[in-house]
Amino acid sequence: MLEIDVYRRQGAFALDISLSAGSGVTALFGRSGSGKTSLVNMVAGLAKPDRGRIAIDDRVLFDPAAGIDLPPEARRVGYVFQEHRLFPHLSVRQNLCFGRDRLREAERTVSFDHVVAVLGIEPLLDRRPAGLSGGEKQRVAIGRALLAAPRLLLMDEPLASLDGGRKNELLPFIAGLSRQFTIPILYVSHSMDEVLRLADTLALIEAGRLVVIGSVEEILSSPNYASLTGHGEAGAVISATLAETDSRYGISHLRFPGGVLKVTQIDRPFGTPVRVRIHARDVALALHVPPGLISVRNQIPAVVRSIAPFDDSQIDVMLDCGGAPLWSRITSEAQAELALEPGQAVTALIKSLTITRGDVSDRGNGQTGALPG
């Protein structure tokens, strides 16, 4: 468990953040200049807070009150930077072993062969960084950080400098890192797509302050943070797994706590964990659905949790489908007719066609080993 409580003033900007991050991937999300990078630099020991405390489990990294301020080299915190920062005068192999060589034998808990295999960098070992592509460099940088057997891995927009193809090549690998190497990751990003595909926990940072921290589904499904997450239209995000695909009709079935969601076909192996975004405007509500008379494929039983006006003519209805959130935006006229109220049982109607590939984020974790391509 990483515990951060830091304050630092820099001119007119003040960073004042207190948060805890557990296992898995915690995404720090916010606009550029919101203080995300400063925060991870403080955790790494590359920047110093004016006051506060930083600890990983029982190990205190920074606590001026107790006279503790470990230098970066003593923190055992791995750091993957936005730019790869590989050492140009060393080979890939020497880069990978840079941190590892400085550990005592007993501390070298991460297997070199395993990292090399998972990252698919075996053919690169004897080359120099200058000869590698952007994606390859970043993979080596990740390997270098992992091999130093850190207790926490910081990743500061590691994909920002890569093009779309390279991003997609690295994303599944990063998604699996935390589990494969049982290491908590603090992941700085300003891409909601990356957050959806990688993060378990989401921390929203704005102007040096923590707005909220919680599960990705919880925060992205809440109307309170829609302006900050800036993720297109209002809607809910739910976790699901790919249960089956009916290629006759081009339909995939996703299992989620509220039942089964039929969406346009997804070509991934069964059991692949995914996140699905369901736009509030695509969810219709019915008090009673006559069986066999309606084209809408998804008829999901739900309970109204809360009702709030969006503007003069539209109403946001928050729903609970067996624990999963759902969000429906209906007209005021519809509400006038249905007279929905919290606690009421309804059926949410979602057309399969409205959920397309772009709304489904693959959380596959590359556990099958080497990356494709």
């Binding site: 080299e73 923190r75 750091y79 920062r85 941190g99 120099r128 200058a130 270098r144």
Partner: protein, 234 residues
């Protein structure tokens, strides 16, 4: 053509080997200090930094004779440092090849520091940060990341200082005089020859030797620097 043309006379051999010895020691002895001061100037801020910068560069703008005379005052038998060095440790510096090396080192020092400082300033500090997060202390990360990456500049500084030492005349002759076999380096031997009748031919030969040595040093540094750059660049 007379084959003896291509063999060095004893005087030439003596002057050349003495020059190489003096310049070699001048560079080797001052390199650690050169790196230290270059690092101080490139990476640290402290009160008196501008003053230190000025003092280091002083030999570049002072007449070498002034440097030589100052050394004589300091390290002469009756000098401020010369007396205790001689009385307590039995070390004599004035009028020895060691003195010549010190004079050369001092005059060449600003050139060395400038080159190394530029190289250090060119190293991406973010790489040093990366080294720190990988378990390197500040000193270790200097030696495994910063210094190797500034090697071309360090090499340039070394060669520049070596070449400057080879050509050192004013400070040397003032401080350690012209003693055959001890302090009579190439430039001093050359000067001495020009002062005697019939010395033109041998003086010309020393000129040619000086040119060859200096040119060889430059060539070697260029080749070395290219090799290092290739290694760093991948």
């Amino acid at each position: 053509m007379d084959p003896t043309w291509f063999t060095l006379t004893p005087l030439e051999r003596e002057a050349l080997s003495l020059s190489l010895l003096v310049s070699g020691w001048a560079v080797v002895g001052s390199l650690p200090f050169g790196i230290l001061f270059a690092w101080l100037l490139a990476r640290r801020s402290f009160p008196g930094k501008t003053l230190l910068d000025g003092v280091i560069h002083l030999p570049l703008v002072l007449p070498p004779v002034v440097v030589g005379y100052a050394l004589l005052v300091l390290f002469g038998r009756r000098g401020l440092l010369g007396t205790p060095l001689h009385d307590w440790f039995g070390i004599t510096i004035a009028f020895t090849w060691k003195g010549a090396a010190i004079a050369s080192a001092l005059v060449a020092f600003p050139l060395m520091v400038r080159a190394i400082r530029l190289a250090l300033e060119g190293v991406d500090r973010r790489l040093e940060q990366a080294a720190r997060t990988l378990g390197c202390g500040p000193i270790q990360s200097f030696f495994v990341v910063t210094l190797p990456l500034s090697l071309p500049g360090v090499l340039a500084g070394v060669i520049l200082a070596f070449a400057r030492s080879l050509s050192e005349f004013g400070a040397t002759i003032t401080f350690v005089s012209n003693i055959p076999g001890e302090t009579r380096t190439l430039p001093i031997a050359l000067y001495a020859l020009t002062q005697v009748p019939g010395g033109d031919a041998p003086a010309f030969r020393l000129c040619v030797i000086s040119v060859i040595v200096a040119f060889a040093a430059l060539l070697a540094s260029e080749i070395l620097a290219r090799r290092v750059r290739e290694r760093i660049g991948g």
